[in-house]
Structures are given as structure tokens and as C-alpha cells.
């Protein structure tokens, strides 16, 4: 880093600290007091943050996978996840499920929705790679990026169109752009109370399902990349595509595979978020995408573990800010932390581990 760049970065950090510091600083005694008074609230918020963070992390994995292999920020990924949510809503609707349907009747449609949303998004991502990114692979870095923003607009409008199909899909409501209600299928039963633990902390079946599914997806991806032959080929391609090609790896195929994987993750995330928040709307991809992208950069983009860490960090940070500061400031805090971390570790928290030469 050049000297003036470093100075500029430190100035930015100082600015952020001066801007936001007093807000937290003056409040510190109050915050400490509040934590001491009811530690249970802190635990509850950590849980909420962890679950929200897990959801952000799954979406962040899609950014990180694609960046890791072709150094492209796939801006369409957030909107792909939105389409995954729409696909799940459609499947659930075709089964005619409504709020409070018993788990026994809902389990098969939910699994089917997971498969269909995954396949749909995987396929869509494959097509996107083939027609929007591959032709631009050898051009300047900016070209595929702009292409990605274009794809994101196409996806958003596809979502808007989908939301207007009320004559075919009953759950689409009265209006294309309005938020759609996703049936509340996971029980809100409190696990801790069911176990007989006397506490005000709530941890429902719904929370557990989200955590478990998120964990399974993340561990599964990690194992796939670390221990399978295609996973090894992916890592080899990420390290040096020319060398990988010489070693007999079909680089085009591996890149396509990466996009399919990213799509499947986006589809699963779509279903998961829809089940958790019970809302599907065509603009949901943009906000979620921004947060997930932040998480990926925070953890060190290109690094799978980093994306998970970044997601959870952002989730917990927002929850704590909502609780102890004002929700007005939550976004400011998240991005302040991002700026500060990037100033001292430009590669992100775990960025050093990427692209080591063997």
C-alpha cells in the first residue's frame, strides 16, 4: 500500500470513529448497566443475531464461491436468491398449504420445494454463466461486472412478473409488487420451555431448523470443496486456471459447476428465509445481497469459512445495535466495522488464507 493510501484509510477510520464513537461512548455506562440488569436479553439477542447471521452467511457463500474462482462479484446472486424464494412459494402454493399446517403434511412439500428451488436456481445460474459471463471472461474486469448488474435487473423484473401471476398461483396476492405472505409452516414451539428450563430466553423449533439447515449447507460445502475430486479441481482452478488446464482439468466445466453450486445455495437460502420471515417480495434480493456481499468482504472474499464468519458477525452486530443503541444506527455500525476492518486487514478477516501457492 502506498503511503498516501494508508493515510487516507486512517483518516476514514478516524472519521468513522469520531462520528459514531460518541454515540456508543456516552452510552457505555447505560449499556453495561442494561447488560448487568438482564443478561438474558443479551443471550436472546446473541441467538437472534446468530440465526440472522447464519442466513446472511449462506447467501454470502454464493458471492465467495464465484469470486474465489473467477474473481467476479456476481451482483445477480441476491436476486437469484429472491427467485429461489418465489420458486419455493410456488411449490408450497401448489400443494395448497396454509398457515399452521401440521409438520407431517408440510414436510414433503418443504423438501420438494428445497429440491425444486435448488435445481431452478442452479440451472438459472448455469445459464447466466454460459450466456452473460463466459463470453466476457477474457475481456476487462469491468465488463462481466456490468453484465452482472444487468442480470440482476433482469432477475428483479422476473420476480416482479412472477408476483403478478395471481391467476395461476393463488398465493401471489392482489398485486405484483406487494410483499407476499409465505405460509408459517415451522412451529413456533419454544424448545427451552418444552425442556422445562425456566428462562425468558426463547429458542423455537423454527430457529433450530434454520440453524441446522444452515450448518448442514455450510459444512457440506466445506467438505465438498476440501475432500472431493471436483472440489479439488475447483481449488486448483481458483489457484491458477492455466496450470489447472495443463493438468487436465476442464476449467470451463469446473466454473459451470461452481455456478450451479452457488445457485443451489441461493435456492436453499430463498426457501429458508421465506420459511423464517414468512415474506417474499421482489426487492428482497437487493438488501440481502448487499448484506451478504458485505459479509463476504468482511470475512475475506473468496474464503468459505470467512463468509460464514462475516455473516454471523454482521448478524450479531445488528442485533446488538438494535438492542443497546438505536435501530436507526444499525446500518451505520455494520458498515463502520467493515471500513475499520478493511483499513487494517484489506483482505478481510481471513483473507490471508486464500490463494496460497503450494
Amino acid at each position: 500500500m502506498k503511503r498516501w493510501q494508508r493515510i487516507l484509510l486512517y483518516l476514514a477510520v478516524a472519521y468513522v470513529v469520531l462520528l459514531l464513537g460518541p454515540i456508543a461512548g456516552f452510552d457505555l455506562p447505560r449499556i453495561v448497566g442494561a447488560i448487568a440488569q438482564s443478561p438474558e436479553v443479551l443471550i436472546q439477542q446473541l441467538l437472534v443475531g446468530l440465526i440472522n447471521g447464519a442466513i446472511i452467511a449462506i447467501i454470502a457463500l454464493g458471492y465467495t464461491l464465484v469470486y474465489g474462482i473467477i474473481e467476479l462479484i456476481n451482483f445477480a446472486h441476491g436476486d437469484l436468491y429472491m427467485l429461489g424464494a418465489f420458486a419455493s412459494l410456488t411449490v408450497i402454493n401448489l400443494f395448497g398449504l396454509e398457515d399452521g399446517a401440521s409438520l407431517a403434511t408440510a414436510i414433503v412439500p418443504m423438501l420438494l420445494a428445497l429440491v425444486i428451488a435448488g435445481l431452478f436456481c442452479g440451472g438459472l445460474n448455469l445459464l447466466t454463466e454460459r450466456y452473460a459471463y463466459r463470453p466476457l471472461r477474457n475481456s476487462s474486469r469491468l465488463a462481466p461486472l456490468i453484465s452482472a448488474i444487468g442480470v440482476s435487473f433482469i432477475f428483479q423484473n422476473l420476480g416482479l412478473f412472477w408476483g403478478g401471476l395471481k391467476s395461476f398461483i393463488p398465493g401471489m396476492g392482489n398485486n405484483a409488487a406487494a410483499p407476499k405472505t409465505f405460509p408459517d409452516l415451522l412451529p413456533r414451539t419454544d424448545l427451552l420451555q418444552a425442556l422445562g428450563i425456566q428462562t425468558s430466553v426463547a429458542f423455537t423449533v423454527k430457529d433450530l431448523v434454520v440453524l441446522v439447515v444452515a450448518a448442514v449447507l455450510m459444512v457440506g460445502l466445506h467438505l465438498f470443496v476440501q475432500y472431493t475430486r471436483p472440489g479439488k479441481a475447483m481449488r486448483a482452478t481458483a489457484q491458477n486456471p492455466m496450470a489447472a488446464r495443463i493438468m487436465g482439468i476442464n476449467v470451463d466445466q469446473i466454473i459451470a459447476l461452481t455456478f450451479v453450486l452457488g445457485g443451489i445455495l441461493a435456492g436453499s437460502a430463498g426457501l429458508l428465509v421465506a420459511l423464517y420471515n414468512n415474506t417474499v417480495v421482489f426487492t428482497m434480493g437487493f438488501t440481502a445481497g448487499l448484506r451478504a456481499f458485505t459479509a463476504a468482504v468482511l470475512g475475506g472474499i473468496g474464503n468459505i469459512i470467512g463468509a460464514m464468519l462475516g455473516g454471523v458477525l454482521i448478524g450479531v452486530l445488528s442485533a446488538l445495535s438494535d438492542q443497546y443503541l438505536s435501530s436507526r444506527w444499525t446500518n451505520a455500525w455494520v458498515f463502520a466495522v467493515l471500513v475499520i476492518i478493511l483499513a487494517f486487514r484489506p483482505g478481510g478477516l481471513l483473507g490471508e488464507n486464500v490463494q496460497e501457492k503450494v
Binding site: I51, R141, A177, A178, T237, T287, L290
Partner: protein, 438 residues
């Protein structure tokens, strides 16, 4: 040059760390641009501001035009459609003519929302107002739905002498001195004449009424949220002041991020404070549905914690968005729903239902009333004279409308002040009672 080309050809890896962070920064800017482009795109944004094209006096065209500017894209459409129906109904009753048929009236509904924004869009509203100012045949502007949009449209139309009648703007600062920001409302009227009137009671009445209603429903501890917009924050502030005055305990008041995916952390915090009622100042399109869902999600059931909002959430779209969690949601409304009207209002309601074969939403009657007032003004002038029509409409006195007999005061506010309280029951808003603002 050659070296540069080769560099760009290697499409993978090898980027130093610094480049990475710089790239991240550049992408931020790019993503922000994408978002502003998506919310700012509008076909007519470049229409020339026509402050000078005052069509004063004697063009003597026998066709005059009325436009409305309301959000027709996004989830406000359901509400808007019934307002437009109300306007059309009023014009149909006069056979789209005024002054004993000498003047023909044309009506065109404009859209001030864009699909990308999902709600009203500042660029689009400005474009609509400029379009109205530039067309000499347009003599009246019915709208807007959102108070923030009115802020943009009023000054443009003020300079062009076009009268603006709103069926739905309730932000007090638009007309009333001392009820909004210090320099309001004068900043909206550069010509020092008033051209904006509204047929709905303003929020300084509605916020007070809501707080009174909350108290009469048995609430003692309230938590207040707003969507950080002009309308939402304004009404939440008035609720806040009134609540303290009438002895409710205000546990907190903060703004929400209207684009957040969920509000579980916020609702967890509120739950720990143990309120009886959460008041949300805002509109459906700013995530009111998700807010209600998450309140119920963290365990604030509707028998323990009531949730109440203003007329910006008094529409079917809210129930669609919140699903079964909307059950038991309270909404105040600056007037009485069409179904509950009596006398002339009842006749109107029956006519509306026969004509459109549908239930009018909350503001349909105000759309009708606004159009009637405009036609009444044109009838007094009988020529294409914007300034005269403006003065005639602004001077409306003892008007026998379907909401009763009322007048505009010097500020352009209606003299009516009847409010109603409504609750969601079996997936529909149902009228509970008439509430008083005092």
C-alpha cells in the same frame, strides 16, 4: 500497451491484497449507483420545469383537463384504484362537463410510483407536476397520496397557479404553520398564495385521536416506531406527545430501517420492555407487514400486545402482507369508511358498489369529494383561467359533500374532524368506533 492487454487477459487470481480492497470499494460505489438508478428511473424525469408557462386568462379552450398523481405501481395500487374510481364517478355524474355543458372536462390519472421503488418515487412525482404545469389545459391536480410527494409537487404547481386538491395527504406541515418544521408551510408556496387544499383531516388530529383511542383500549405502556419518512415520523411524534400528555408511559421511540429483511432483534428488545401497545407511524409499503409478523414471531401475541398504525396502513395490502398475523391490528383513519357513511355518503357508497362491483377502499370517498370540489370551482369560473379556478376552489365554503357540510379554512384544511378506529378481523378491516381528536 501490449503488457496491459496481457494483464487483462489473465482472468484469475494473482491480484495483490491492496487491489482487492480497492475493488471492494469500487463495487460499493457501483452497487449504490445500481440502487439509485433503480429507484430514480422515470421516463419523464427530464420534462422541462415550466414555472413560467402560466396559462393566465384567455386561451378560452372549451376543454379543460384534470389530472391526478397517485401511486399506481406497487402495493398502493389497490388503494389508488378506488380513489381513481371515485374521481371518475364524480366526473361521470356531471357527464364530464361543467358550466352547463359549455366546458368539457378531461381526466387523466398519472402514476407517481415506479416498479423499481415499489412505491412513490420523487423523480416521477416531480416529472408529473412539471407535466401538469407545462400543459396550459390542465387546471387542477388531484393528489398526492404520500405527503412527501406533495412537498415536491406543491411548489411547482404553486408557481404555475394550478390548484392541487389532495384526497389523502395528512402531514400537518403542508398547510398548518407551527405544526411542522419552523419554515413550513411557507416554503411550499413561493408565490405567497395558497394553491393546496385537502379534503382529509391532518395528522395533528389523527395522532391525537390515535393516542386517545389507545388509552381507551386499555393501553398503559406504549412503544413507538416510525418509518423515518415525513408522514410516518410526523404522526408518530404527535402520538408520542399526546401519549405523554394523557398519561401513557412511553417506553421508547425509534425509527426502523424500512428495507430490513426482518425486525426480530428490535422486537425482542421491545418484548423485554413489556408494552401493552406498539404504535407504528408509517405506511404499508415501508415493511409494516414484516414488523407485525416479527412482533408475533417473538411471542407478543395479539391478546397481550396490541399493534396500532395510522391510515397509511388502513388498506387491504397490509393484510395481504402480514397474513394471519394481521389479525387484531388496529388502524385509525382520518374520516369514516365508506360503508359507515350516512345520508349522501350512503347513497354514494351504494352507487359506487353498483358501478364498480367492488368495495371502495378508505380513500375512495375522498377521491370523489376532491373531484367534486374541483368541478365546483370550475363551475364558478367557466373559462381557462388557472388562477381564478385556484381561488374558487380554495375559497370553497359550506360545501355539501358526502361527508357532510364543510369548508376549507384559510390554510386549505377541511373543517371536518371525524376520525374512525378500525380493526382487522377475519382477514378484513372492520369499523370499531368513531373517535374524537380532542
Amino acid at each position: 500497451m501490449l503488457k496491459k492487454l496481457q494483464n487483462s487477459r489473465t482472468f484469475v487470481t494473482g491480484m495483490p491484497r491492496v487491489g482487492l480492497s480497492r475493488l471492494a470499494l469500487a463495487l460499493w460505489v457501483a452497487s449504490l449507483c445500481a440502487s439509485c438508478a433503480s429507484s430514480g428511473s422515470s421516463p419523464n424525469a427530464g420534462a422541462s420545469p415550466a414555472a413560467g408557462t402560466t396559462a393566465s386568462g384567455s386561451t378560452d379552450s372549451s376543454t379543460l383537463k384534470i389530472v391526478s398523481s397517485l401511486p399506481m405501481t406497487g402495493s398502493s395500487l389497490g388503494q389508488t384504484q378506488t380513489i381513481i374510481n371515485g374521481i371518475k364517478q364524480a366526473l361521470d355524474e356531471t357527464n364530464s362537463a361543467a358550466c352547463d355543458g359549455k366546458i368539457k372536462l378531461e381526466y387523466e390519472p398519472l402514476d407517481d410510483a415506479t416498479a423499481a421503488a415499489g412505491k412513490w418515487d420523487p423523480a416521477q412525482e416531480t416529472a408529473n407536476a412539471n407535466q401538469a404545469a407545462a400543459d396550459p389545459n390542465i387546471v387542477a391536480y388531484i393528489g398526492t397520496y404520500n405527503s412527501g410527494a406533495a412537498k415536491l409537487a406543491i411548489p411547482i404547481l404553486n408557481q404555475a397557479d394550478v390548484v392541487m386538491v389532495s384526497p389523502a395527504n395528512t402531514y400537518p406541515g403542508l398547510t398548518k404553520p407551527g405544526k411542522g418544521e419552523p419554515n413550513e408551510p411557507n416554503i411550499y408556496y413561493p408565490k405567497n398564495t395558497r394553491n393546496f387544499a385537502r379534503v382529509v383531516p391532518a395528522d395533528d388530529l389523527q395522532g391525537v385521536a390515535a393516542a386517545n383511542w389507545a388509552k381507551s383500549l386499555g393501553a398503559k405502556r406504549v412503544y413507538i416506531l416510525d418509518d423515518q419518512e415525513l408522514y410516518g415520523k410526523g404522526i408518530a411524534d404527535i402520538f408520542d406527545q399526546t401519549a405523554k400528555k394523557i398519561g401513557l408511559e412511553v417506553l421508547g421511540h425509534e425509527g426502523i430501517d424500512a428495507k430490513a429483511a426482518d425486525y426480530k432483534a428490535l422486537m425482542t428488545k421491545i418484548k423485554a420492555l413489556n408494552p401493552d401497545l406498539i404504535y407504528f407511524g408509517g405506511i404499508t409499503q415501508n415493511n409494516a407487514g414484516q414488523l407485525i409478523k416479527d412482533a408475533r414471531n417473538v411471542g407478543m401475541t395479539n391478546d397481550k400486545v396490541k399493534i396500532m398504525g395510522p391510515d397509511g396502513t388502513f388498506e387491504q395490502a397490509l393484510i395481504d402482507a402480514a397474513g394471519k398475523d394481521a389479525e387484531g391490528y388496529y388502524a385509525t383513519f382520518g374520516g369514516v369508511p365508506g360503508k359507515e357513511l350516512t345520508g349522501a355518503g350512503k347513497t354514494w357508497y351504494e352507487n359506487y358498489k353498483t358501478k364498480y362491483n367492488a368495495e371502495p377502499e378508505a380513500y375512495a370517498s375522498y377521491g370523489y369529494e376532491a373531484a367534486k370540489v374541483v368541478v365546483n370551482g370550475i363551475n364558478q369560473v367557466c373559462k381557462n383561467d388557472r388562477a381564478a379556478i385556484r381561488d374558487a376552489v380554495m375559497g370553497t365554503k359550506d360545501f355539501k359533500g358526502l361527508l357532510g357540510t364543510w369548508s376549507f379554512d384559510a390554510n386549505g384544511d377541511t373543517s371536518l374532524g371525524t376520525m374512525s378506529g378500525n380493526v382487522v378481523k377475519d382477514g378484513k378491516f372492520q369499523f370499531v368506533s368513531v373517535i374524537k381528536a380532542q
